[in-house]
């Protein structure tokens, strides 16, 4: 009988990254991982090591046709081999630069602390919004551009008491607007709607109302931000569907905004 309890959890990082722990050991180690940033760093470094291991084996290379197969499987039309380089057409080059800038801005957001959510959820939100923008490539690209433009920050509104529902605000300071993406929102009663509030100079300023779809999702494309003043937070309450001037019910979701 193995007794993994006797190992110090730190000693297991290498074996975990190699995939050499039994299912039980791995589950226990993951519980420890959740509590230790140092251990997570260690695992991620050992994964880099593991990723290199295969290069110590016999020389091998895939056939030229594999690239096309990979692209076809991901539902892509065959692209020229140099697709990674920005093309000469102005639009593509601009988009590429934008995306690189977006990565930097997303990474920046990841370092913000309280208002930050995991990369995975940021990406999921982007995908969700992209899907909800309809099938037209142009419309989807425009929405993505808006979410992912340089300087746009992501603010997570969380529900008090219940971690499940959430709203993400893509916060575009330069263009004075935000994009709302809600998920797992509970249905509202007849005649009611969710309403967004900005907390400006300590006072709630009314913003848009919206209703979730049956799957709990809601998205609002362009929400103007209140001019002037310092906006410190955003919150959501349930209000009559025409909207209120002052909140009439408790705050359901709230999140603090990064300082400019």
């Amino acid at each position: 009988m193995t007794r993994p309890d006797q190992d110090s959890p730190r000693d297991l990082a290498a074996a975990y990254a190699l995939g050499a722990l039994s299912r039980d050991e791995a589950a226990r180690f993951e519980a420890y991982l959740a509590t230790s940033a140092e251990a997570r760093d260690e695992v991620s470094e050992y994964r880099e090591v593991a990723a290199l291991l295969a290069l110590g084996g016999p020389e091998s290379a895939p056939g030229r046709a594999l690239r096309d197969r990979v692209l076809a499987r991901a539902g892509v039309q065959s692209a020229p081999p140099q697709a990674s380089a920005p093309r000469a057409s102005g639009g593509r080059a601009r988009e590429y630069g934008l995306w690189v800038a977006l990565a930097a801005s997303l990474l920046l957001v990841m370092g913000l602390g309280a208002a930050v959510l995991s990369t995975a959820r940021q990406l999921a939100a982007a995908k969700q919004i992209a899907a909800s923008a309809g099938q037209q490539l142009a419309a989807r690209d425009a929405t993505l551009d808006a979410i992912l433009a340089p300087g746009v920050q992501l603010v997570q509104l969380t529900a008090s008491g219940d971690p499940e529902p959430g709203i993400q605000l893509f916060w575009d300071r330069q263009r004075h607007r935000a994009i709302v993406n809600g998920y797992r929102l509970r249905p509202v009663a007849q005649g009611k709607a969710y309403q967004l509030w900005f907390i400006k100079d300590g006072k709630p300023v009314p913003s848009v109302t919206f209703k979730p779809a049956p799957d709990g999702r809601a998205s609002v494309g362009t929400v103007p931000l209140p001019a002037d003043g310092s906006i410190s937070a955003a919150a959501v309450t349930v209000e009559p569907e025409a909207g209120s001037l002052q909140p009439t019910s408790p705050i359901l979701l709230v999140g603090t905004l990064p300082k400019s």
């Binding site: 193995t2 190992d7 000693d11 074996a15 990254a17 190699l18 995939g19 050499a20 039994s22 050991e25 997570r40 695992v43 470094e45 050992y46 994964r47 880099e48 090591v49 593991a50 990723a51 290199l52 291991l53 295969a54 290069l55 110590g56 084996g57 016999p58 020389e59 091998s60 290379a61 895939p62 056939g63 594999l66 690239r67 197969r69 990979v70 692209l71 499987r73 991901a74 539902g75 892509v76 081999p81 140099q82 697709a83 990674s84 995306w99 690189v100 977006l102 990565a103 930097a104 990474l107 990841m110 995991s118 990369t119 995975a120 990406l123 982007a126 995908k127 992209a130 989807r140 993505l144």
Partner: protein, 201 residues
């Protein structure tokens, strides 16, 4: 502040995964150009056969495309994530093949002496050079381990065995196997740190 910096995900890789997550299929080509060769190496080493290795790589990218929205930069690099996917698909295939072979009683593994020619894959000389340099360093690092350390690590990574299974296979005490894995990986880490895929972004 020591956290974050050493293993932060490269911005270019992250942007590609973000694009894939957002449904932009054009991100897959550049990801393949960056990591196709190493995913193939992982797959080939595990399945030991070119056609199956290619199937694994195609599977792995299809899964990466589906899983992109769940990619978590806090857990490691894009290269680490992709190779984990490829390893796991390859091990799945080997396990399925083992079951099938048992049924048909044809255990002969198809291990061709020659794989397709090098030079097909990387059009740019700089990339090929870097690839060759990495290969050399990894070989050297592996050669610096004791044979039992190397064996334990390879059984874990390429055959998907747990430490207990390795101990059983080798008829060695579990504690010994654990120590080999740990010390061997520590040594590899010291040798290979400058050659991680993350380097240089």
């Amino acid at each position: 502040m020591s956290d974050g910096a050493p293993h932060s995900v490269s911005a270019a890789d992250f942007a590609l995964v973000a694009r894939a997550a957002a449904g932009d299929q054009r991100a897959i080509g550049p990801l393949y150009d960056r990591y196709g060769a190493v995913l193939y190496a992982v797959a080939y080493r595990i399945v030991g056969q070119a056609a199956d290795a290619e199937e694994v790589v195609a599977d792995a990218f299809a899964q990466a495309w589906r899983d992109a929205p769940r990619f978590d930069a806090g857990r490691g690099s894009v290269a680490g994530w992709l190779t984990m996917i490829a390893r796991s698909r390859a091990l799945d295939l080997v396990r399925a093949r083992t079951r099938r072979d048992r049924i048909t009683a044809s255990a002969a593994a198809d291990r061709p002496e020659h794989s397709p020619a090098m030079g097909d894959f990387r059009p740019d000389p700089a990339g090929a050079l870097e690839h060759a340099e990495r290969r050399r360093e990894v070989r050297q690092a592996l050669a610096s381990l004791s044979a039992p350390q190397r064996e334990a690590i390879e059984l874990a990574y390429f055959e998907g065995l747990s430490q207990s299974e390795i101990a059983e296979r080798l008829q060695e005490p579990l504690g010994t196997v654990k120590t080999r894995v740990r010390l061997g990986m520590q040594k590899l880490r010291e040798c290979l740190r400058p050659f991680y895929f993350e380097r240089g972004q």
